[in-house]
Symmetry: C2
Subunit: 332 residues, 2 copies
DNA sequence: CACATTTGTGGGAGCGTTCCCACATGCGGG
DNA sequence: CCCGCATGTGGGAACGCTCCCACAAATGTG
């Protein structure tokens, strides 16, 4: 344990060259073929590996990207993390994870985000992410919002075209003959979710003969269950339900069944995201698929461009999604 | 963008002290109250934040812990990541995430684990983690295995007492009168899962009148579905099924229903983990709860002890779990 | 054959910290 | 009054790398 790790100087000594030559081998410069071979061989013997910390200090690049994300209970997020991890790896970056729970967590996270010399930050938190984004912008740290939007439209970001998606679902349900519609909304701080609820409501209200009621599901299990239960019971109960996330829709399905209503027969239920478990036999949830691969790739591209120093057009890129019909809305 | 971040020297100049004094404020040394105030004020004005990279270079501590974990589709893992993140945060560490998919991914990950001067590594990958563990050991990097065991018992680790858990499930099913039992096993590289299958089998075979058949579920959706379908059909189909992970059990539930068998009435199905969604109404899966909070806390403690330089007793700590009875095994 | 040009090389400063050491103070006791 | 001894302080080396610059050797040109 006491034998410290070998340094570039050690390798240089063994190979009979200068440490500059060693550096050139690993940082990509010109070295004669002969010297390169000797250096690589020496490095192999000593088990040398360049110290990334020291390297970062001079190059001012850490190759570390921070990812801030809300609690991973919503299965859609782990999938996003996985894809993001791959995309970042392919682009030569490592991922430092920051899991937040609510707003209180955000400030210490922010502190660390800035204290560590991260090359960039991806904000996939559902709440209050814009505030963090503004601070990054101010500190000159490249930043991208993913699956969320900055109300002030200053932080660059990428998300699904929430409006088009919610509208398509609304039209589908209206076309299916539904006139009493319900929305299980998320927290107000999440603009992406708010956009979905608003767009859905707008279409229904424009129809004239249809009505829409909204209950807040708070992005939580109990919240969604309670909201759906409320909307699905009483004298003017709804016949179709739009939950702004699949995660909440799963609890709406449970609430419906608890009331003796079979989704797809007695009530139509839609989610949003296309969470991987939506297609499971137990749920078969109709939803709107976010183009996750494309979103992730775009976000990483946008971030990489900023890191390269390219000024970015501000604002949010909105990618097209796709409605996915499954059993839970089959009779609509 | 061009105005570089302020350094400790900048702060020292503004406060009229030396950079040593500034360092003392942030690294925790003795500074007179008056000087401290002036420094803090100057830092506030300049928006100074110590550069962690430079700090790491001298202290040889990065406060970065690497977490290697297999694909996050199994919901149990995101939960683990979340808890681990919190525990590491509380202990003053940040988490660098490495998501692996199969064995091929492991070598490049290992390279990066060692190249980055991580203070320690947590291996929660289900497969081949021991190999990576050995290499860390060799390189002198503190390492802990979580929810997995090293067959050679050299890498310290913590997991649930898989044997006791699987045995308890087996006895419960035998006591319930089941005589034709089935196991949906995982991949062979995962020793933790193998332990469960083996312990279950041992108890059943010791019974004398009961038989047990095993099919490999490969930890995958399709694999588990196929394995369960096989076990639940044919002339000598099983009446009780033990899946070595909840994730696979969800597909066993689906397979059973697809065959017209209602879990908890026509067939008993057990998982292992107590994945958060096991308790959902759509599943109500009987299972064995891993003491995740305790496991995570123990793993972080063990890692921190190694980082402090304490030699650790080798081998795996096995924590007690708890059987959780739910509808899927109610008639047993 | 003198000179420019290419090619590879080593020396050394610098990145922003920490930490050791030397050195000023202020103060009480011999 | 001078010595010891706390108590703060600043200077400067060190961490392991990159990268600029100067320079040597090999090659090409008039």
């Amino acid at each position: 344990m006491n034998n410290r790790r070998p340094t570039g100087t050690d390798v240089a000594r063994l190979a009979g060259v200068s440490k500059s030559a060693v550096s050139r081998v690993y940082a990509g410069g010109f070295v004669s073929e002969e010297a390169r071979e000797r250096i690589v061989e020496a490095a192999r013997i000593l088990k040398y590996r360049p110290n990334n910390t020291a390297r970062s200090l001079t190059t001012n690049r850490s190759h570390l990207i921070g990812l801030a994300i809300t609690g991973l209970d919503n299965q859609f997020y782990p999938l996003m993390v996985d894809l993001l991890h791959q995309a970042l790896r392919d682009a030569g970056y490592r991922m430092v994870l920051f899991v937040t729970h609510g707003e209180a967590d955000l400030d210490p996270v922010l502190d660390e985000l800035l204290g560590y010399r991260l090359d960039g930050v991806i904000l996939a938190s559902s709440s209050h992410a814009a505030r963090v984004g503004h601070e990054c912008l101010e500190a000159g740290v490249p930043v991208v919002m993913l699956n969320n939007v900055d109300p002030e439209d200053r932080v660059p970001g990428v998300c699904t075209d929430n409006v088009a998606g919610a509208e398509e679902i609304a039209r589908f349900l209206l076309d299916g003959g539904h006139r009493q519609l319900g929305v299980v909304s998320g927290l107000e701080e999440s603009l992406a979710a708010a956009e979905r609820a608003a767009a859905f409501t707008r279409i229904v209200e424009a129809h004239g003969e249809a009505t829409v009621r909204t209950e807040c599901g708070h992005f939580s299990e109990d919240g969604a269950y309670a909201a759906a239960s409320l909307l699905l019971s009483g004298p003017n109960r709804v016949t179709a339900l739009f939950c702004v996330t699949d995660f909440m829709a799963f609890f709406a399905l449970a609430a419906a069944r608890n009331l003796g209503l079979e989704p797809g027969r007695d009530v139509a239920i839609f989610g949003f995201d296309d969470d991987p478990i939506s297609s499971w036999r137990a749920f078969q949830l109709a939803t709107f698929r976010q183009p996750l691969e494309e979103m992730v790739a775009t976000a990483v591209d946008m971030l990489a461009a900023q890191i390269r120093g390219q000024a970015l057009p501000m604002g949010t890129r909105r990618l097209a999604g796709k409605i996915i019909l499954r059993l839970s809305a089959s009779f609509a």
